[in-house]
C-alpha cells in the first residue's frame, strides 16, 4: 500500500514533467486493491483491473510494475502481461471488463480449472449496462467471479447521489441472485475477509459475489483532473482522517510490526523500483512497423501493403 502510493506520487511528478501520459492515481484505493490481491491466489485466480489498480497488484508479479510503466509511456507492450501473470490489460472503456471476467470465470469452470476471477470497477461503472448484463449472467451461470466495486464516491466530478438513487450499491446483488456485501474499503482486514469469503464460496460452487468497498478518492480522478473544482474541501479533509494506509499503520504500530523507520525504507525501495522501471521502459525498443503487429495473427493483404509502404516511406 505504501509502495503503491509512493510510486503513484512519483508517477504524478513524471506526468507533470511530460515523461508519462495521463494516469489515474491510486490514492484512497490502496487497501481495497492490495488486500484483495492478498486474498487471492496468483497461481489460479485472475484479476481484471480497471485502470487505478496496478501499483497495488504487484503481488501478482513484479512484472505488473514494468508493464504499468510501459503502459504509461504509451508503449504497446504495456498491456502484454507475461503468461505467468494472471492480470488482464487495463481497461479504459468503463465496465466492459465485467463481462470478460464473467466469461473467463465461466470458461475456467468449463475446463475444470480451480480458481476465481475478480474484476475491479467503480461506482460510476455500476451505472453501465455491461455491469447489469454481466452480473445477471454471472448469477444465472453461478460463475466463480467476484465483482468488486470500489465505491469512491466520485465518477470524475459526478457524486454518488447523481449516479444512483439506490441506498447502497451492494443492494443491487439481490436482483442478480447473488450475495451483496458492503464493507469499509479503508479497512484492509475487512477487505481481505470479504474477498476470502467470496472466493471460498465461488470455489465451492456458490457462484458470484458483489462486494461494495466504500472508500473515498483521496486524489484526482486522473492527472488531467482538478478535483478542487467540485470535491468539498471539508469532505476530503474528513476522508483523509480515514486514510487506509494510516488505519493499517496505526494497527501494525500497535502490534509492534511497523514503525517510521520501516516505512521510510519501504518508501525508498519503492522509489528506487519505480525509477528503475521507468528507465527500463523508456529503453524498451519499438520498431516503426510495430503499429501493425498483433492486429491479426498475420497481416491481411492490404495491411501487408501498408506495412511495406510505411517501411519504404511511400505515401
Amino acid at each position: 500500500m505504501v509502495e503503491a502510493r509512493t510510486q503513484a506520487a512519483r508517477l504524478w511528478n513524471l506526468q507533470r514533467q511530460g515523461q508519462v501520459g495521463t494516469l489515474a492515481p491510486i490514492d484512497g484505493h490502496e487497501a481495497v486493491v492490495a488486500a484483495t490481491a492478498h486474498a487471492l491466489d496468483p497461481t489460479h485466480d485472475w484479476i481484471l483491473p480497471q485502470y487505478r489498480e496496478p501499483l497495488a497488484l504487484q503481488r501478482f508479479g513484479p512484472e505488473v510494475l514494468e508493464q504499468y510503466m510501459l503502459y504509461n509511456i504509451g508503449h504497446p507492450d504495456g498491456s502484454r502481461f507475461p503468461p505467468s501473470v494472471r492480470v488482464a490489460p487495463l481497461q479504459i472503456s468503463l465496465a466492459t471488463q465485467i463481462p470478460h471476467a464473467v466469461g473467463l470465470a465461466w470458461g475456467m469452470t468449463l475446463q475444470d480449472e480451480p480458481g476465481v476471477t475478480t474484476v475491479f470497477f467503480g461506482d460510476g461503472s455500476s451505472s453501465e449496462g455491461d455491469f447489469h448484463e454481466a452480473a445477471n449472467l454471472a448469477g444465472v451461470l453461478k460463475a466463480p467471479v467476484i465483482l468488486l466495486c470500489a465505491n469512491n464516491q466520485w465518477a470524475i466530478s459526478t457524486p454518488l447521489h447523481q449516479q444512483t438513487a439506490a441506498e447502497t450499491l451492494a443492494d443491487r446483488a439481490v436482483g442478480y441472485g447473488m450475495p451483496g456485501v458492503r464493507i469499509d474499503g479503508n479497512d484492509a482486514a475487512a477487505v481481505f475477509d470479504a474477498v476470502d469469503e467470496a472466493r471460498q464460496r465461488a470455489l465451492d460452487g456458490g457462484g458470484p459475489t458483489l462486494i461494495e468497498a466504500v472508500v473515498y478518492r483521496l486524489g484526482a480522478h486522473t492527472t488531467a483532473d482538478d478535483p478542487t473544482r467540485y470535491v468539498p474541501a471539508e469532505d476530503l479533509e474528513a476522508a483523509r482522517r480515514d486514510d487506509p494506509i494510516e488505519r493499517l499503520a496505526d494497527h501494525l504500530v500497535g502490534l509492534g510490526l511497523w514503525d517510521d523507520e520501516t516505512r521510510s525504507a519501504v518508501e525508498a525501495e519503492a522509489m528506487t523500483r519505480v525509477d528503475e522501471a521507468f528507465e527500463r521502459a523508456i529503453a524498451q525498443p519499438l520498431a516503426t512497423d510495430a503499429i501493425f503487429d498483433h492486429c491479426f495473427a498475420t497481416d491481411t493483404p492490404r495491411m501487408a501493403r501498408q506495412r511495406a509502404a510505411l517501411l519504404d516511406g511511400a505515401p
Partner: protein, 329 residues
Amino acid sequence: MTGTSEMNMLQAINEALHGEMARDERVVLLGEDIGHAGGVFRATEGLFEKFGAARVVDTPLAEGVIVGSAVGLAMAGLVPVAEIQFLGFSYQAMHQIAGQVARLRYRSQGRFEPAITIRAPFGGGVRTPEMHSDSLEGQLANIPGLKVVTPATAADAKGLLAAAVRDSDPVMFLEPLRGYRGIRGEVPDGDHVVPLGSARSAREGDDLVIIAWSYQVELACRVADSLAEEGLSVAVLDLRSLVPLDIEAIAEAVDRCGLAVVVEEASPTGGFAGEVVATIVEECFWSLEAPVIRVSGFDVPYPVGMLEDTFVPDEARIAAAVRRTLETA
C-alpha cells in the same frame, strides 16, 4: 473421396457447427434460444442434444454480455461461437465487438487469442419486423481487427464457417436471411474448409464484372444468366469475405473486363461498395472503360415491410446498372 449432398444454407451452417464441435471440444456455442429451441431459424438444431448444456448455452437476452463473455471465454482458451439473433440487434453489442473483441489480440500484444466467431443473420427480403434486417457489413469492415465473412452459397456457408471457427482472429460471420432456405446447392460431405480471403468466380465472363457478396451474388448470377441469352458475357465475382479482401481477384477481373458494377444491400454512403470502388480505382484505373456504378440500398434506415422491396436491390436494378455501364463504354 467424399461426395456431396444437396442442402440449403441453414443446413450447411448446422452441418459446419456439428463438425466443428465434434472436431474441437474447446468450441462452445452461446446465444439466445440456440439450445432447447435450436435457434429461431434452427441453425443450431440438434447441437444441444448432441453436445450438452455446457457447450450449447442459452443465454439471457443481452447481446452485450453474449459478446463480452465470449471475450472472457476466449481468454480462458476456449473457442466461442456466439449467435446474435439478428444483426440489427448487434448495435447493443457494438461496444464489445468494436472496442473489445476486435482489439483483444492487439491490446494484449498477442497474449490473448480472440478465436471468437460471431454469427448473425442479416439482409432484407423476408419481411421481418423493424431493426432485424440491417446490413452492417460496411460498418463492421471499418473496425480494424475484425474479419467479416459473407457466404453466398450453401457450400461456402459450411466451408467458410469452419474456417471462421478455426481462425484465431475474430470473425463476424454474416448469414443472408433470404439465403437460409432460399439458397440451395451441393455441399461437400465431411470436413470442408474454404480459406478466408479468397474470392470466388461465380460466373465467367469478359464484357463486365459484377462484384457482390452474400445474397446479392445470387441476384447477380441471375442477371448474368439472363443477359447471356442476349449474347452478353457478364462475370460475377463473389467476394466471400470483405476482410480479408481479395484485392488480386478484384484487380484481375476488372483488368480483364474493363467494366464493373458493384452491388451491395446496405446504404451506400460510407459503405463497403464504396471501398470496392476505391480499390478498383487504385488498382485498375487505366483499365477502366467507363465509370464504376454502385447498386445499393438508399441512404435511409432499413424500412418497414411495404417499402422493403424498394430498398433492397433487385435483378432489375442490377441489370439496369449493367446495361448503363455497357452503353457508356
